[in-house]
């Protein structure tokens, strides 16, 4: 941690009254109106909101194996520019992160890059093939201290294997993050199943393929008394199942991506694969249900599913294009547009859904903390009144597959402090 001291002058914690906030020795040293700035570098934060450094439970950093699309270095820089101080890296790398050695490699690459904490997620099954459990305990015991396990990209569709995984990770306080997709129901699927898929002649990905797995897994989690986390919830029906499971008192959490909070399947009419994601963009009714569920706490957190892909995997026919879109650098503005500007969530709610809850679900104790004296100085300074136009050429990610290029978004990430040290100042990497 740096010894550098920063005084954030006029900053508004969670959008509240302006204060001075002193960051020293990696912590928030003082918060108040008369904090002494002696020896500190003063940052003019007048009018800027302070939020806890964002935490992404669902990031694809692509290293090792697909460094043409993203590296730990470029992905975490994108994270910092998006206000993140910690990201959980999904294991669908090449090779797959299903061993202690692999997760340690990713963890070290993140530490060396130094833009934010990188917490690897381990694969549930060997090679994410869904046939036998990976060495979950070895990954948990490794230097990376893995606590979240997922075959993301694939569903752990075998009910017995899923049950065993849920039971097994109890030994070290782990959680299984499920990519809920019944594979037989989505064979050949290209977009949300409905009237539009019929018109466009694209294979349908029915809502029930997600909901059937969500229902099964919350029942399994309830049965074995373990924790399950549902990745990228995309349908109104899934929301109802998660709500029901929580009412039962089962240890079930869920995430939603920024794009599922804003974009609808209608965009697929263009056949532009920039809109191809998995799970697919759904209907406006789904979007409204997801927003409501995030606001009322049924959905615990926002996770980006940041999925960089090189140009040749996107500038092609819809059917063969890789699913996924960038998320880290635009998540907070999208959440502002979809939830804050619509009156569904206040800034304390945003901090909860984008920092506190994901850190808690992933077991990352030092993140998502209150902006209070003595807490780790992971925070983001944000100007919600600003507006910016997304420019592909200025993204830190190595890939450019964002659907927002050329679009004006509200809000601007002005600075990110990671352990008291700025990784981003005045909107630029330090």
């Amino acid at each position: 941690m740096t010894a550098q001291r920063y005084l954030l002058d006029g900053v508004r914690p969670l959008g509240g009254e302006p204060v001075r906030m002193l960051l020293a020795d990696g912590r928030i040293a003082a918060v108040g109106t008369d904090v002494d700035a002696a020896g500190a570098e003063v940052v003019d934060a007048a009018g800027l909101h302070a939020l806890p450094g964002l935490v992404d439970l669902h990031t694809h950093l692509r290293e090792p194996g697909r460094e043409d699309a993203e590296t730990v270095e470029t992905g975490t820089l994108a994270a910092a520019l998006g206000g993140y101080t910690a990201v959980f890296a999904m294991p669908n790398t090449e090779p797959c992160a299903d061993t202690a050695g692999l997760v340690e490699q990713v963890w070290r690459l993140g530490r060396d890059a130094g833009h934010c904490d990188v917490q690897p997620i381990g694969a549930v099954t060997v090679g994410r093939q869904g046939e036998r459990l990976a060495e979950l305990g070895a990954m948990a015991d490794s230097a990376a201290r893995v606590r979240v396990f997922s075959d993301d990209g694939n569903c752990v569709s075998d009910a017995v294997l899923m049950r065993r995984a849920l039971e097994y990770v109890k030994a070290f306080g782990g959680v299984v993050a499920q990519h809920a997709e019944e594979p037989r129901l989505t064979e050949g699927a290209q977009m949300n199943e409905g009237a539009l898929s019929g018109v466009l002649g694209l294979g349908g990905w029915p809502a029930v393929a997600e909901e059937a797995i969500v229902a099964r897994d919350v029942l399994l989690a309830g049965h074995v008394g373990s924790r399950v986390h549902i990745c990228h919830l995309s349908t109104a029906g899934s929301v109802e199942i998660v709500r029901w499971a929580k009412e039962k008192g089962w240890d079930v959490t869920a995430e939603v991506t920024p794009h599922h909070l804003l974009l609808t399947e209608d965009l697929v009419r263009s056949y532009d694969p920039i809109y191809k994601v998995n799970p697919p963009l759904r209907t406006d009714a789904d979007v409204q249900a997801l927003r409501q569920a995030l606001a009322d706490g049924t959905i615990d957190c926002v996770a980006t599913d940041h999925a960089p892909h090189s140009l040749e995997h996107k500038e092609t026919e819809w059917a063969v294009a890789s699913p996924g879109m960038l998320g880290l650098e635009t998540a907070l503005p999208i959440v502002q547009q979809a939830l804050v500007d619509t009156g569904l969530l206040d800034w304390a709610g945003v901090a909860d859904r984008m920092a506190t809850k994901p850190a808690a679900i992933g077991g990352l104790a030092g993140h998502g903390r209150p902006l209070a004296e003595g807490e780790p100085a992971h925070l983001v300074l944000y100007d919600p009144a600003a507006e910016w136009t997304v420019d592909r050429a200025r993204l830190a990610s190595r890939s450019t597959n964002t659907p927002y290029a050329g679009h004006a978004l509200p809000g601007r990430i002005v600075a990110t402090f990671y352990g008291g040290r700025p990784t981003v100042l005045d909107g630029k990497p330090t």
Binding site: L196, G201, G204
Partner: protein, 320 residues
């Protein structure tokens, strides 16, 4: 007319009738000793076929050549990704070669839409995945009008694998635009989700709709559907949705039997039905050339009468 022909849904009633009338005019060329017009001399049409389709490719090729266009056949199996060169690069290459029209057949729905982003010339959809095949629908409409003398108010039944059929999609859109009452019939597993929003009626009962229709259009059932639980067996499909002599006998006397080909004889259509005089299957092939000539002519900027003499003498009698 739009610059491209991607979907039958893009055609207004006037556009569609203009194509049919132009095709009727151009059909006369086929009966001449010299089956060629100078209309598109100096223009280049590229047949970009990622899927094998001798019938459609040849039809477009003959159509373009009868209008004196230069034709380049660019065949490429599989997806462009599998092939190594991206679709975009292929498009830019064709653009650099000065293609005035690109006729594209591709296994992926939406590929013609993608090409319009990269190509200045006209893009003509010759079948994309399970999306559309607008010139097939146009030639079907032409054939019906040619045989029955009109389209408005007719009843057309489309039978079979509507879910995977680009021919059905285009026909439903085009025929509805032209005032035809369309009913799609098939097992529920082969009717698309959301079909109730299409401009057509639906039925699971072929026997119930046959006595009232003017045209029955059979769709090809692909072998892989027979092994993917869309229906229990080929035999059961054939019994419930196949057109055999017994069912044909329930049709009104004037009613036509159509099939876009290639047929599974004995599966969706019995041999004696396929070869019956009310069957239009070979006419559909011949009419395809006239339709494609008309489409190429109109998209590539034809403003003069296609044949080049007084259109009063070429007024199609069947367009009443």
């Amino acid at each position: 007319m739009n610059r491209h022909l991607i979907s039958a849904g893009d055609l207004s009633r006037d556009d569609a009738l203009l194509i049919l009338d132009t095709a009727a005019e151009l059909a006369q060329v086929a009966s001449r000793p010299v089956k060629k017009l100078p209309t598109l001399r100096g223009r280049t049409a590229v047949n970009l076929f990622y899927e094998d389709s001798t019938r459609t490719r040849t039809s477009f090729e003959v159509a373009a050549k009868r209008l004196s266009a230069d034709v380049i056949n660019f065949s490429a199996k599989g997806s462009s990704v599998a092939k190594g060169e991206s679709l975009k690069d292929t498009a830019l290459t064709l653009e650099a070669m000065g293609a005035d029209a690109v006729v594209v057949r591709h296994g992926a729905s939406g590929t013609p839409n993608r090409l319009t982003n990269w190509i200045d010339g006209s893009v003509i959809n010759a079948g994309d995945g399970t999306h559309e095949h607008p010139t097939q629908a146009l030639l079907d409409a032409y054939t019906i009008r040619d045989r029955l003398g009109r389209l408005d108010g007719l009843s057309v039944v489309i039978v079979g694998d509507v879910l995977h059929s680009r021919v059905a999609r285009s026909n439903v859109l085009l025929l509805a635009t032209l005032g035809v009452d369309v009913t799609v019939v098939g097992p529920p597993t082969l009717l698309p989700v959301g079909v109730e929003t299409w401009p057509c009626a639906t039925s699971y009962d072929l026997d119930a709709v046959l006595p009232k229709c003017d045209v029955v259009m059979m769709l090809r059932v692909q072998q892989e559907r027979m092994h993917a639980a869309f229906f229990p067996s080929a035999r059961e499909y054939s019994r419930r949705y196949g057109l055999d002599a017994r069912r044909m006998a329930t049709l009104p006397e004037h009613a036509l039997v159509m099939h876009p080909g290639p047929m599974n004889r004995g599966m969706e259509i019995a041999a004696e039905v396929a070869d019956a005089t009310r069957s239009t299957i070979t006419e559909q092939v011949a009419n395809g050339i006239s339709i494609r000539m008309a489409v190429l002519y109109l998209l590539l900027g034809g403003t003069e009468p296609a044949i080049g003499h007084d259109p009063a003498h070429t007024e199609p009698t069947e367009s009443a």
